[in-house]
């Protein structure tokens, strides 16, 4: 794991603010695409003891590790977290619940079997909940854990979400420091499928060291590679999170978040190739220095188009006025030239 040591060092320098163990890290409602239709969603980020992988280094772009609780929350704490989260859904009629822990929901050391059972049973009992999606690393997707969930949820739809990031083992290892292989993902997806559980794959556009053009190609290739295994693909746009290796590179002027034109390019081409697969992207932080951005002038237009497409899956939604922004020429040059910068990637530079 080439980067693990430096990532650990950066993690150790980061100050973490203490927080209440009985309040979820975050809860919000939104929309998603469910079988071709728009559906309300409730996203809950549970505060747990955190990601085991993140706690010993972890991924180069992940700042969620700082969301974990410093003392492992108790059973009662987590019950309380769920309760507070569900209050946010009080006005919804039918919805999907998306569970994150900044780690793996299926990791027993993070979410004890008791807690897991309590949460899933509770959700199953709430008849408004059509579907539950829970994020996990693939090593926790075993016959054992999947069957357990399936049993709790009964006929509520269940989907596991895995941060595969890319189908390239080299990028996942040398750039992201993810700690598992593509084959691990495939195995997990197969176990899920066998148990009538669907799989959602998260991909990551432009982890560190990857040029803009290679990042685009990597996403297109990854989608081609995972379509057989994932019904649902969501592309995260790498952004600069506090206390991460990516931030360290960015502060040195050696990392630039992806261009929004790049995700548009990926979505267009991949959707055309794989019309049956749901491919979405939520451009978090779009138009900010730390988030994916073009020239800041056209960013909101493009981010909105991406969001719209993510709901409609209609590639016409990706044609937008913003494409005529002056910076489109610049992006084309960046894609071409960044490939031959040999580690001196093209970043935004101040006038000096």
């Amino acid at each position: 794991m080439p980067l693990n040591q430096i990532i650990s060092e950066i993690r150790n320098r980061q100050r973490i603010k203490p927080s209440a163990p009985d309040v979820p890290t975050a809860v919000w409602t939104g929309y998603d695409n469910h079988k071709g239709k728009r559906i309300d969603t409730l996203t809950i980020i549970f505060k747990t003891s955190g990601c085991w992988w993140g706690n010993q280094g972890g991924c180069s772009m992940c700042g969620y590790v700082y969301d974990s609780s410093q003392n492992p929350p108790s059973y009662e704490d987590l019950k309380s977290q769920l309760q507070k989260a569900m209050e946010k859904a009080s006005s919804l009629e039918e919805f999907m619940v998306k569970i994150y822990t900044s780690g793996s929901f299926l990791d027993e050391n993070e979410v004890s079997t008791d807690v897991l059972k309590y949460i899933l049973q509770a959700l199953n009992q709430d008849k408004r909940v059509l579907k539950v999606v829970a994020e996990t690393r693939p090593e926790f997707v075993t016959d054992d854990t999947i069957v357990k969930c399936r049993n709790m949820l009964k006929d509520t739809e269940f989907e596991i979400a895995i941060g595969l990031e890319t189908s390239s083992d080299i990028i996942r290892r040398d750039s992201i420091n993810k700690g598992f292989k593509f084959s691990d993902f495939i195995k997990a997806a197969q176990i899920a499928e066998e148990n009538d559980v669907t799989t959602k794959a998260y991909l990551l556009l432009k982890p560190p060291f990857i040029t803009e053009g290679t990042a685009i190609d990597d996403m297109e290739q990854s989608i081609d590679d995972i379509v057989p295994y994932a019904n649902n693909i969501s592309i995260n746009l790498c952004n600069v999170q506090k206390g991460t290796f990516v931030e360290w590179m960015w502060q040195k002027g050696q990392y630039r978040p992806p261009w929004l034109y790049s995700i548009v390019d990926v979505l267009k081409k991949s959707k055309q190739k794989h019309p049956e697969t749901i491919i979405t992207s939520d451009p978090v932080g779009a138009g900010s220095k730390r988030g994916p951005h073009n020239c800041y002038k056209c960013d909101q237009d493009i981010a909105n188009a991406v969001r719209r497409f993510s709901i409609t899956q209609n590639i016409n939604d990706l044609d937008f006025k913003g494409q005529t922004c002056g910076c489109f020429q610049l992006w084309k040059k960046v894609v071409k030239l960044d490939e031959y910068t040999y580690g001196a990637f093209i970043v935004d530079r101040m006038m000096q």
């Binding site: 290679t214 030239l337 580690g343 093209i346």
Partner: protein, 613 residues
């Protein structure tokens, strides 16, 4: 080693050369990296990034296929997995793309410190452009690279070249650049000039007369659509890079790049920092700085004090020079006219001293050189420097000259030190006297050439002379020995100019004869000795500045591959002694000793005399 790169001319670390490919690229050069892969346009192709291409490029087979597609004269950049410079070595060395792969023909390698250096013709400084504005890291990275790779290979620093920094980068030893920054700047509406960047929408006129700029007014340009605006700006930006490149090449040809860089680096603080950091490094630049130049040394900035020629001169005066045996030291101010003794003021000093001159040893105080013994006043750069004349020395100059004087006086003892100086010179003497706890006799208050001052000087020396036995007159032998020691190291003077040597021809064109055979000539223009083959024969056992060659008799010049060993103290411009099985000789070095040993191409020495043995 390399068959595809040759250095043709040097000016310090900077060099003119060529990449010998299907189409030769004269270096320093700027490549249009967009053309990579189209060998019609650019004889370079990239075997690709591990990040992009994955594992298959690990296989030698892939590279061999690539080589079959393009000729041996197209340079293949070997597969690479690029990281920025700051990523820890350990991370990089554990990365997937750590494999051993080679191909025939011209190759380029991406260099990461700590990773094994492959045999290549071109080395790419990984993450080069990412170190802009970080002078310390950039310098360390470049120095690290240059120390690992053979001298006669080219260095490519990607994604960094701007008109403002090109001179400095070439000065520090880089050879190949790309237009990437010029293009990206253009599409960011940034208008480049050699004196910095302008945001197009902040300027009201175009400060350039290139084709692109004369094709359009600034107002029209601002109103154009992004694509067309980008095209024009890109053309301009590339023109500026080209133009700066030509200028730098001309400065190298003139041997004047250092002077240019001392001004040009003021466009950005990090470039100024680079100049200073490179000077603080004792070896990096000095090893390849010439010992003589055909042009004046212009000392026009505070950094001039630290340029390699200056520190080298001071170091040699301290360590190589042996003063004549006299016990009165006379300190004199420098003069605008060089050599000093031809100036009006020094003529007056010499006239005034008259017959008493032989009692004193003369030492000239000067900024930026520090101290110049009279015997070395002809020797580069003592007679070859030009400064901004304001009549004022700043604190650094005072400190530097004082240090030189203190060092000298700590080593060389006199029973009496007389200073015929005023102003800053007197301050220097005061400081030195205080530091050393010695007394200095001053012979003037203000104007050193006034009648009164000269009178006091004369009386002072006269009185001192009365107490002393008459020394030998200032001997031509001493002069020639001092220069020999300066040039070839302590002891050379006694070998080349023994007491029974005869010095012919008037100053400054002295010639040394021994047993009626000519040994050496003083070349007035550089103030150095030019040896005959006999002179070389005598000096070779002294074992400095010796170049060992194989069993051939060289003619005209010696190529680097013909050299077996070369003294590491050899610098470009040095008189070197050639010692071979079948010949001895003498010539002028065109490269440093280390470079001679390590290079596989290029002329190392132009010969002056050869004698079969």
């Amino acid at each position: 080693m390399t068959k595809h790169f040759e250095v043709e001319q040097r000016d310090g670390k900077a060099r003119l050369g060529k990449l010998i490919l299907s189409r030769n690229l004269k270096t320093p050069c700027i490549i249009n990296i967009e053309d990579i892969g189209d060998t019609e346009k650019l004889p370079i192709i990239d075997a690709g990034s591990v990040w992009k291409q994955g594992k298959h490029i690990f296989e030698n087979q892939y590279l061999n296929q690539l080589r079959q597609k393009v000729s041996e004269n197209n340079l293949i950049i070997l597969p690479h997995q690029n990281y920025p410079y700051n990523v820890p070595d350990k991370a990089v060395s554990n990365a997937t793309g750590n494999y051993d792969i080679e191909t025939s023909g011209a190759t380029g390698s991406v260099f990461h410190p700590g990773k094994k250096v492959k045999n290549s013709d071109l080395y790419i400084m990984e993450g080069g452009g990412g170190l802009e504005n970080n002078a310390r890291q950039f310098f360390n990275a470049l120095k690290g690279l240059k120390e690992e790779i053979p001298h006669d290979t080219a260095v490519y620093v990607p994604n960094i070249a701007l008109p403002e920094n090109l001179a400095m980068l070439i000065y520090l030893g880089a050879d190949v650049f790309d237009y990437t920054r010029a293009t990206i700047s253009a599409y960011n509406d940034i208008y480049l000039t050699s004196s910095g960047k302008f945001y197009l929408y902040n300027i009201t006129e175009l400060p350039c007369r290139c084709d692109a700029c004369t094709s359009v007014t600034v107002d029209d340009l601002k109103l154009m659509d992004a694509e067309n605006r980008g095209i024009i700006l890109e053309e301009h930006n590339k023109n500026m890079l080209d133009s700066e490149l030509s200028l730098v090449r001309e400065k190298i040809r003139k041997g004047y790049l250092r002077e240019y860089v001392e001004g040009q680096c003021r466009t950005q603080p990090w470039l100024t920092a680079l100049l200073r950091i490179a000077d603080f490094d004792q070896c990096y630049l000095e090893e390849q700085f010439p010992t003589t130049r055909t042009v004046q040394l212009t000392a026009n900035t505070s950094e001039s004090l630290n340029r390699p020629e200056i520190t080298r001169f001071a170091e040699r005066v301290q360590n190589r020079y042996t003063p004549p045996k006299k016990d009165i030291l006379l300190l004199l101010p420098c003069s605008a006219r060089k050599p000093y003794s031809t100036s009006n003021s020094h003529q007056k000093f010499i006239d005034t001293l008259g017959q008493y001159r032989k009692y004193v040893h003369e030492l000239v105080l000067t900024s930026p050189l520090g101290i110049v013994p009279r015997e070395l006043e002809l020797t580069y750069p003592a007679a070859h420097y030009d400064i901004a004349v304001t009549g004022h020395w700043d604190a650094d100059e005072v400190e530097w000259v004082t240090d030189c004087l203190v060092n000298y006086l700590s080593k060389n003892k006199y029973s009496c030190v007389v200073a015929h100086v005023e102003g800053a010179y007197q301050k220097v003497c005061d400081l030195a006297a205080r530091k050393l706890g010695i007394d200095i006799v001053y012979t003037c208050e203000s104007d050193v050439t006034s009648k009164e001052s000269l009178e006091v000087l004369k009386d002072t020396i006269k009185n001192l002379a009365y107490e002393r036995t008459q020394p030998k007159p200032m001997s031509k032998h001493n002069l020639m020995r001092a220069i020999a020691d300066y040039q070839f190291g302590k002891g050379a003077g006694n070998i080349l100019v023994p007491d029974d040597a005869v010095i012919k021809a008037p100053y400054p064109k002295h010639q040394v004869y021994l047993n009626k055979e000519q040994i050496a000539t003083l070349v007035p223009h550089h103030g150095t000795l030019s040896l005959t083959a006999r002179g070389a024969e005598l000096l070779i056992p002294h074992d400095n500045y010796v170049v060992k060659i194989g069993s051939f008799v060289p003619k005209g010049s010696i190529l680097a591959p013909g050299i077996q060993e070369a003294d590491v103290s050899i610098r470009p411009g040095d008189e070197v002694l050639i010692s071979g099985e079948n010949a001895i000789g003498v010539g002028r070095a065109l490269m440093s000793g280390r470079e001679m040993e390590k290079s596989t191409r290029g002329i190392a020495i132009t010969l002056r005399h050869v004698k079969k043995t």
